[in-house]
């Protein structure tokens, strides 16, 4: 299916263009999700896309699926209810970095722990964009933000490490520059029977970029190109990874999935 067909099939055309700023990476990540869903051949009626609050949260509104725009940080908790109630649905959650790791941090680690079959995609642009550029749990130490006028005194999370520690069974990182690769990472995340977390590095030229002199959207994409390296290359040659951001499939494991475990209980009680 070519791009024009994908747009026709999966977007709510009357809602476009989307509200994101010029050069915002979110639109690129969203297209990756659309291609991943198309590659997997999922039935649109069986896909639910859930979001929280923030720039990222507007994504589901543009997509022609069952879509749910919830409260700040709580997308995974709503999604857990949907998936547990009807495990036949493919539940995909789009969250921002503040949404998922600040206000929603508790829900995130517990979704990881529960290993419920939900695919979470974090649109990480290192800033609260919707409210005007305040620092988030992924804003690097020392960087500037509307609430860090003298440099961020807080240290950021490594989202993927946190998810691994909490028990997610598929973890990957991609970027808006490496969009084609991101398609595959999301695809594998959806296929994983368990909780999958995909960190998508996005760019916010309007707030994070401007405040920190990171240049234009183009410059920020080039930063991803120059500073990210696929984990497989580093596995073979650790030196290559020095000072770089690891991308690609970072972790995969197998353990009991929540809704299957629950189904086993129901089945056993029927005996």
């Amino acid at each position: 299916m070519d791009a024009s067909q994908l747009i026709q099939k999966y977007y709510r055309l009357d809602k476009l263009p989307h509200i994101w700023c010029p050069g915002c990476g979110h639109g690129i990540l969203l297209n990756s999700l659309v291609r991943a869903i198309d590659n997997l051949g999922l039935n649109k009626d069986e896909v639910v896309v859930v979001s929280g609050i923030g720039c990222s949260s507007r994504a589901p509104g543009y997509l022609d699926f069952n879509t749910l725009h919830t409260t700040h940080g709580r997308a995974l908790a709503f999604a857990t209810g949907i998936k547990h109630a009807n495990p036949n649905l493919h539940v995909i959650v789009i969250m921002g970095d503040g949404d998922s790791f600040a206000i929603g941090g508790n829900h995130l680690i517990h979704a990881c722990r529960r290993n419920i079959d939900i695919t979470a995609i974090v649109f990480n642009n290192n800033i609260y964009g919707m409210t005007g550029g305040q620092y988030s749990p992924t804003t690097p130490y020392g960087d500037l933000a509307a609430t860090a006028p003298y440099g961020n005194p807080d240290s950021p999370f490594d989202i993927c490490q946190l998810a691994k520690g909490a028990g997610a069974t598929y973890i990957a990182r991609g970027t808006a520059y490496h969009a084609r690769e991101l398609d595959k990472l999301i695809e594998r995340g959806i296929k994983n029977k368990g909780f999958s977390l995909i960190e998508g590095l996005s760019m916010c030229p309007t707030y994070y970029g401007r405040k920190n002199r990171k240049g234009s959207a183009v410059d920020m994409l080039k930063f991803f190109k120059d500073n990210c390296i696929d984990k497989r290359l580093v596995d073979n040659n650790p030196q290559l990874g020095e000072g770089k951001i690891l991308i690609g499939e970072l972790y995969k494991s197998t353990r009991p999935e929540y809704t299957e475990s629950y189904k086993a209980i129901i089945d056993k009680l029927k005996e």
């Binding site: 299916m1 070519d2 791009a3 024009s4 067909q5 747009i7 977007y11 476009l16 263009p17 989307h18 994101w20 700023c21 010029p22 050069g23 915002c24 990476g25 979110h26 639109g27 690129i28 297209n31 808006a176 520059y177 969009a179 084609r180 030229p205 234009s216 959207a217 183009v218 994409l221």
Partner: protein, 70 residues
């Protein structure tokens, strides 16, 4: 029937972010009055680098005719 590829630009959706212009390997695109424009179509190799990094679905390659086996 042979597939024919077309470069489609939807100026209504273009926000003028320059990403497509900068990442086009053949300098097919330019920016005018805050919108992308196709200035050198004959050099287009339909590599889709503009398409996959356009955040706004404003520029993409359309396959016309033939069968779509995707």
């Amino acid at each position: 029937m042979e597939n024919k590829k077309e470069l489609i630009l939807n100026k209504e959706w273009c926000k003028g972010c320059w990403i497509c212009v900068e990442f086009c390997p053949k300098q097919v695109l330019d920016m005018k009055d805050g919108k992308c424009q196709i200035v050198n179509l004959e050099d287009c190799i339909y590599c889709q680098l503009c398409e996959i990094r356009c955040p706004d679905n404003a520029i993409y390659i359309k396959t016309v005719g033939g069968n779509d086996h995707d």
